[in-house]
């Protein structure tokens, strides 16, 4: 077979790159040996489960049979999911849950980080208090909030009734209309300290000289924030938002403990629905297909996270 000159050059370059890469690897073989145990562990605990989940997503697993009695159904599970009303409802819940929780937790955390960045009496104590929701167990917090929200004898309801603002305690988690917002409030309460801590750390990196220089140049508080502080926090903000978004997509404890996805599926998000399909209803194949879809979404977020981290690293030497 005759190769045109351009193609031959490309093939030669490709071979050169490969041999160069192999040579580099050979030179660094000791380094690879050092990381080999970690790679093996990752292959076992991450790569194999991913492979197994993808594989299982192409099988039907009847609830009345053992998992080994599964039958190959191709992409039927994916089709069943994408054509199911419940899937779209749960997806909408997941999007609302993730966007609302991430945005509000970030904004709240940001505001508190700015407020607590200034030196004032009692700042340390306030920092400690605000961190409490983040450090206490999510399980314990969920049970506490369940009681706070309780539709018959919850604290909020009792207070509102006592103050004469309502005749009956409001229905927070037993109504399809209010359950998701109520859970989102709990999630924000749990997560805003994380955003606050991240951004407080970011604020430490804003050069004091620049802020003073801007002040000397006549910049007001808002201008100093917008033109000096905020650009310096762009990297840490991106990372914080991505981490919050990934955590929210993966949320399980709060919705599962407080409502189990109910009432009437109104608070099911992807993870709780996957759990119910797999462990409650033994639709392992369908649950795996759900998980694969979720995996791709999270990988996309992960890609942006890594890109954000890398751009931060690139920016820092010149910062």
């Amino acid at each position: 077979m005759t190769m045109v000159t351009g193609e031959a050059d490309t093939a030669r370059q490709s071979r050169a790159v490969r041999s160069g890469l192999l040579r580099q690897m050979w030179i660094s073989r000791t380094d690879y040996l050092y990381v080999l145990p970690a790679i093996v562990v990752m292959l076992i605990v991450i790569a194999y489960p991913i492979y197994y989940t993808v594989d299982l997503s192409f099988f039907k697993t009847p609830p009345g049979l053992q998992l080994k009695d599964k039958s190959f159904v191709g992409v039927d599970n994916y089709i069943a999911i994408l054509t199911s009303d419940v899937f779209w409802r749960v997806t909408l819940n997941t999007v609302i849950w993730t966007l609302a929780s991430t945005t509000i937790a970030f904004v709240l955390g940001f505001a508190l980080a700015l407020a607590l960045h200034r030196d004032f009496f009692g700042r340390g104590m306030l920092r400690a208090i605000f961190i409490i929701p983040w450090v206490i167990s999510a399980v314990a917090a969920s049970y506490i909030w369940k009681w706070i929200y309780h539709s018959d004898f919850g604290i909020i309801g009792a207070m509102l009734v006592q103050m004469g603002l309502t005749d009956r305690p409001p229905n927070f988690i037993d109504s399809v209309g209010t359950v998701l917002p109520s859970l989102i409030v709990v999630n924000i309460w749990r997560e805003f300290p994380f955003a606050m801590i991240m951004l407080m750390a970011g604020l430490q990196t804003v050069p004091e000289q620049l802020l003073r220089a801007a002040q000397v140049d006549g910049a007001n508080t808002w201008q100093r924030f917008w033109h000096v502080t905020f650009p310096h926090l762009r990297g840490v903000s991106t990372v914080t938002i991505l981490l919050l978004a990934v955590a929210n997509f993966n949320s399980f404890i709060i919705p599962w403990i407080m409502t189990g996805g109910g009432p009437s599926n109104a608070s099911h998000i992807w993870i709780t629905h996957i759990y119910e399909l797999a462990f409650g209803r033994q639709r392992w194949g369908v649950a795996s297909a759900y998980s694969v879809l979720l995996f791709f979404i999270l990988m996309t977020l992960g890609y942006f996270y890594v890109r954000a981290l890398s751009s931060n690293e690139r920016r820092e030497p010149g910062a």
């Binding site: 004898f153 037993d174 009432p263």
Partner: protein, 494 residues
């Protein structure tokens, strides 16, 4: 109504047909060692304390007392809604077992009713199950049908099949083979607060006779006193929900299939029948129309109704005799004026038979638990210490411990338990026990199908929630649930 295919219907029907009959018809109420045809509170009293049993000696014949081995064991243990008395009996059981079998290394793990099935299924998938397990009555058939359990019959541990309720034996039988032994069997009763009834203008000593009366009474209590009338429970993935809704469904003449009929064939889905819809409508009327039940019913379980009841904020509920002890425990923990208020509720606590449907049909869930031994290939390490497993099976299903472990809330799975001296003491100690033993002949077991846990724990509560939240109409919710059952029985559905 929806029809299943004939073959599967015949197969299922054959396996469960005798079950409901066993509890409701006389021929099966005739098994020794107690005469079930004479079953009444008086008869139960007459046989109590008539025989002596030595558990250690009896089980020593199954597994020598000096046997050296190791046993992993999971069991459905006590949970937040149980009385302290029961916690003590569980503690005593394991202490006595260890004392009797000092060379068996026992590694036991208690799991609550609502967690056990999920965790056990997960462990089975990883071949990491315990050697023996005590499961709720609903779970036995699922795991037997899937081939996880070793055949195990009462004769294997020194008892006879006739020592147990015939209906309970059917719940541990799949395809003609017995895979476990009943440990306890139970039926619940209606509990009401006589003082609340009086203040609401009702007859304090007369419970609602029918489910329609429950709806009326609940509304009257709510309208007059501003408190919840009936303790509706509609939480998903919680055993409490089917245990309270199924008597209502059966009472109205409905069912999942025809499990409440004298000769069930399970070839017909009846969740969307007119009778089933009337039962669902009754719940809808109480929750949505009258607002006479706790608003939190959709996230509540019985443990949440108990504080409401002891606080005098709930008029009626369905539960075990153990709730009387739970109320006493809660009263002890109360302080100040709450303590007196709780005592007043306890003094006014009454138990009665579960109401009937419009046609006079009375029904209750025939519940309980079974004990099983796993096949070695699904057990951690790939080995089952059969003798050690049989020792604990023998112990728990003995007349003594099947009674003591069900002391306040249930009844002994081993019928000989009714003849023990502990039963005699129990009849004096546990108030209202007569009512729940009287309910036993009205007991209907859940359909003994591998799909039963999903139907009872997910599909039925979903149906209730869909109707009660307004997400669907009563008709739509019933039709939706019937379709889900049909899909499930066909091996699929999302």
């Amino acid at each position: 109504m929806t029809r299943l295919n004939f073959r599967s219907a015949v197969l299922r029907g054959a396996m469960v047909s005798a079950m409901a009959v066993s509890l409701t018809a006389s021929p099966l109420l005739a098994a020794p060692p107690v005469d079930l045809t004479k079953w009444s509170p008086e008869y139960v009293r007459s046989i109590a304390g008539t025989e002596e049993f030595d558990t250690t000696e009896a089980c020593g014949k199954v597994t020598p007392l000096d046997y050296k081995g190791r046993l992993t064991f999971w069991y459905q243990g006590v949970f937040e809604g149980d009385p302290d008395l029961l916690r003590q009996y569980y503690k005593d059981f394991f202490e006595t077992f260890r004392k009797s079998y000092p060379n068996i290394q026992l590694e036991e793990q208690a799991l609550t009713y609502n967690d056990l099935l999920d965790k056990f299924r997960t462990a089975l998938l990883g071949n990491a199950a315990p050697m023996a397990v005590r499961l709720q009555i609903l779970g036995g058939t699922e795991f037997a049908a899937k081939g996880y359990l070793e055949p195990l019959k009462p004769e294997d541990v020194g008892y006879s099949a006739e020592d147990f309720w015939p209906g309970a034996m059917k719940a541990v039988t799949w395809d003609g083979v017995t895979y476990g032994i009943p440990t306890n069997n139970e039926t619940m009763a209606l509990i009401w607060n006589a003082d609340i009834f009086k203040r609401a203008g009702l007859d304090a000593d007369k419970p609602p006779a029918t489910w329609d009366d429950v709806v009326t009474y609940s509304k009257q209590i709510h309208d007059k006193l501003g408190i919840a009338g009936y303790g509706l429970v509609a939480r998903k993935n919680a055993g409490n929900t089917p245990y309270r809704f199924m008597p209502q469904l059966w009472g109205f003449g409905g069912g999942i299939f025809d499990e409440a009929d004298a000769s069930p064939k399970l070839n017909e889905i009846r969740l969307n029948s007119d009778a089933s819809k009337r039962a669902l409508q009754a719940s809808y009327d109480m929750y949505v129309r009258d607002k006479s039940v706790p608003v939190s019913a959709l996230t509540n379980q019985q443990a949440d109704n108990q504080p409401l009841f002891v606080a005098g904020q709930l008029g009626m509920m369905i539960s075990h005799p153990s709730d009387y002890n739970v109320m006493k425990d809660l009263q002890k923990k109360a302080t100040g004026a709450d303590k007196d208020k709780a005592q007043s509720v306890i003094d006014n606590m009454r138990y009665g038979l579960i109401p009937t449907g419009p046609d006079g049909r009375r029904a209750v869930v025939f519940g309980g638990s079974n004990i099983h031994i796993l096949k070695p290939e699904y057990v951690e390490g790939g080995k089952v210490d059969e003798l050690a497993a049989k020792a604990i099976v023998c112990f728990w299903s003995s007349p003594e411990w099947s009674l003591k472990m069900a002391y306040a809330g249930s009844n002994p799975g081993n019928l000989n338990g009714f003849k023990t001296k502990w039963m005699k003491t129990r009849l004096d100690d546990i108030k209202f026990l007569d009512v729940t033993t009287s309910m036993l002949p009205y007991g209907i077991p859940f359909p003994a199908l591998p799909q039963a846990p999903e139907i009872m724990n997910i599909i039925v509560p979903d149906m209730l929630q869909n109707a009660l939240t307004g997400a669907m109409t009563v008709d739509q919710a019933a039709e939706d649930a019937a379709k889900k059952v049909k899909d499930l029985m066909g091996g699929g559905g999302l």
